[in-house]
Subunit: 324 residues, 2 copies
C-alpha cells in the first residue's frame, strides 16, 4: 500500500476495523476512523488514539452529510461498518438494508463527491447462500440468497462494482468466512463462551452441531487484504478470504470447553441449521488470494484459542451486553 | 393461476404492468393497480378501468404506509414498478437504489404485514453483467455488476429470496431480455423511432451498432410468466425469459427503417457499448422456462414491427416526453 497515505475506515472502532486501523498506523499511514459506536468500542482504539497520525470521528454512515464532510482528503476507504451479524435479520429486516446496503451507497457517494476512488469492502461468504460447490470459488454458480445479511452485502457488492464500471472506482471486495481473534465480540463462538461462563455444566447448541464452518484469524485476514490491495491489477477485485480448512460447530465447542477445562453436557436445538438462513456448510475456495503468495499463519484451532483467550482476558466486553 | 383470485400490480400503469393487468382481468381475476404515474400512463388502463373487477390506486411504492394499506386482501403481487431504464443510472445513482431496491423492500414488507406470500418480480438479464457464458443460463457464474440498474435489481432479487427463506414467501423472479410490443415507451427502439421521426435522413446510433440484444414480445412474455407461476413447485423460482435468438442493433435499425420506408444515413458514437454499463451481448438461455412447455409465438422481427406499428399509431406517447 505504498501509494496510499491517508486511510479512512468506516466501522473503524469495530472488531475488524480497529485491527485494520492499528495495522495501517503501523504501516505509517494517516488513519481516520468513522464509527457511531453502536457496536464498535472506544477501548479498541486506545492505542490508536495515542498516535498523532490517528483521527477519530464519531458519526453514522447513515448520516450522508457528516460522512461526506468527514471523508475528504483520503486516498483509500475501508468500508467495514455494517450490521455484521447474519443471525438476527428476520427480527428486523430493515437493519441489513439500511446498515449494509444503503450505508454502502452513502459511502460510495461520499467518495464520489470527494473524488476518492479506492474502496476495500467487507463482504461475506454468506453471499453464496447454500452453495452447490464446496469449497466455493469466487465464480461459483449464480447464488440464491438465503439471508437478509447475505442479500444486503451482495447488494453492496453490486453497488461497488457499478461504481467501478461507471465512475472509474477501484475496489477490493473481500468475502470473509468467520473472522476470529482479538476484539471478536459477536457471533456463535462469542455466544458459546458467554453461555459456558453463565452455566459451565450445560450448553445448548443451535442446530445439530454438525454445521461445518471455516474461519480466519484477524491478522491473517488483514495480511490477505493487504496482499490483494498490493497485487491486484483489475478495477474490480473480488477475493474469498479464509483458512484452507473447516471444522464442525461441535469441534469449536470442544476447543472452547477444553481451553476452559470444562466438560459441559451439550443439548441441541436440532436441525441442520443453527437458525433460519444459517448456511450448514461454509468453506470457501481461496486459491485466488493464495495465487498472490498469501498463506495463513494460524489454523482454525489457533484462531479459536486466541479468540477465547482474549475474551477470557477482556471480561469487560460482556458488560453492557444486553442483546442476549 | 387458478388458486389466485386477487392480484395486486405495482407499476400496473406501465408497459408490462398494464398488459399484465389486462391479461389478469381476462382471466377473471380481481386486479388492483398501484402506480404513481411517473412513467406509467392512464391511457394504458382505459380498458381496465371499464371492468368492475379493476381498481386503481394512485400511489408510490416509496410511500410504505399507503402501500401497506393498499395491498390488503390480495393473493398475489406482481412487483413491476421500477426505474426500468438501464441507461441513465450514472446521472443519478440514487434513483435505482430507491426505485428498485428500497421499493422492493417496501413491497415485501407491505406483503409481510398483510400476510401475502406470493410475488412475481420483474428482474432483468442485466443482472448477469457481461456474462462469460452466452446464451446465459440462470446458474451462470457469479456475475459482476456493470450497471446500477442491474445491481439494484439483483439487490431486489436477494431481498425476495431472503423473504422466501425467512418468511416462507413464494417467488417468481423473471430475468427479462428487452420486452417489446404495445405500450413500449422507453428504450433504444423507442429512441430510434423518435430520432427517425425528427430526422428521417440521418440517425446517430450509440456504440458501433454491432451490440447483440435479445428481446421478447410482451404477450409471449406474459404467457411465459403464467407458465412459470402455474408450473413451479419451488419457493424461489428464477427464470430467464426471452426469445431463442438475438439480433444486432444495426438489424433493429434496419427493421424500423424498412417499416417506415426510410433509408437514413447512419452515424455511430463508436465503441462496443452504447453507454457506460451497456452490455454488448445479451442473450439468455431459456431452456428452463421452455422445459415447462412454453414457446414464444413471435420472433424478434415481429416484436419490433409490432412495437413500431404501435408507436406509429400512438403518437401521443411522444407528447410531453421531455426526457430526450
Amino acid at each position: 500500500m505504498n501509494n496510499i497515505d491517508n486511510v479512512f475506515i468506516t466501522g473503524g472502532a469495530g472488531f475488524i476495523g480497529s485491527n485494520v486501523a492499528d495495522k495501517m498506523l503501523n504501516l505509517g499511514k494517516n488513519v481516520t476512523v468513522y464509527d457511531n459506536f453502536s457496536t464498535g468500542n472506544r477501548r479498541f482504539l486506545e492505542k490508536a488514539l495515542k498516535n498523532n497520525k490517528f483521527s477519530l470521528i464519531e458519526g453514522d454512515v447513515l448520516d450522508p452529510i457528516l460522512l461526506e464532510k468527514s471523508i475528504t482528503n483520503n486516498d483509500f476507504v475501508f468500508h467495514f461498518s455494517a450490521n455484521a451479524d447474519v443471525r438476527f435479520g428476520l427480527e428486523d429486516p430493515k437493519r441489513d438494508l439500511e446498515q449494509n446496503t444503503i450505508a454502502t451507497y452513502n459511502v460510495l457517494e461520499a467518495m464520489r463527491k470527494n473524488n476518492i476512488k479506492n474502496i476495500g469492502f467487507s463482504s461475506t461468504g454468506s453471499v453464496y447462500g447454500e452453495a452447490d460447490i464446496i469449497p466455493t470459488p469466487e465464480n461459483a454458480p449464480f447464488p440464491i440468497q438465503t439471508s437478509l445479511y447475505g442479500a444486503s452485502k451482495l447488494a453492496g457488492e453490486g453497488l461497488i462494482s457499478s461504481y467501478c464500471e461507471g465512475y472509474n472506482f477501484k475496489s477490493w471486495i473481500f468475502r470473509f468466512v468467520g473472522v476470529l481473534g482479538e476484539r471478536y465480540t459477536h457471533g456463535h463462538l462469542f455466544d458459546f463462551y458467554q453461555k459456558l461462563k453463565k452455566n459451565p455444566l450445560e450448553m445448548n447448541v443451535l442446530g445439530n452441531g454438525k454445521q461445518k464452518k471455516s474461519y480466519i484469524y484477524i491478522q491473517d485476514c488483514i495480511e490477505s487484504m493487504i496482499y490483494a490491495i498490493d497485487k491486484s491489477v483489475d478495477n474490480i477485485n473480488i477475493y474469498n478470504l479464509g483458512c484452507d480448512e473447516y471444522i464442525e460447530v461441535n469441534d469449536s465447542v470442544k476447543i472452547i470447553s477444553d481451553f476452559l477445562k470444562l466438560d459441559p453436557k451439550l443439548t441441541y436445538s436440532g436441525g441442520k441449521k443453527g437458525w433460519v438462513g444459517d448456511n450448514p456448510f461454509i468453506y470457501l475456495d481461496t486459491k485466488k488470494i493464495r495465487s498472490l503468495g498469501w498463506k495463513e499463519n494460524n489454523n482454525i484451532d489457533t484462531g479459536i484459542i486466541k479468540t477465547i483467550k482474549w475474551l477470557h482476558e477482556n471480561q469487560w466486553v460482556f458488560e453492557n451486553d444486553s442483546k442476549k
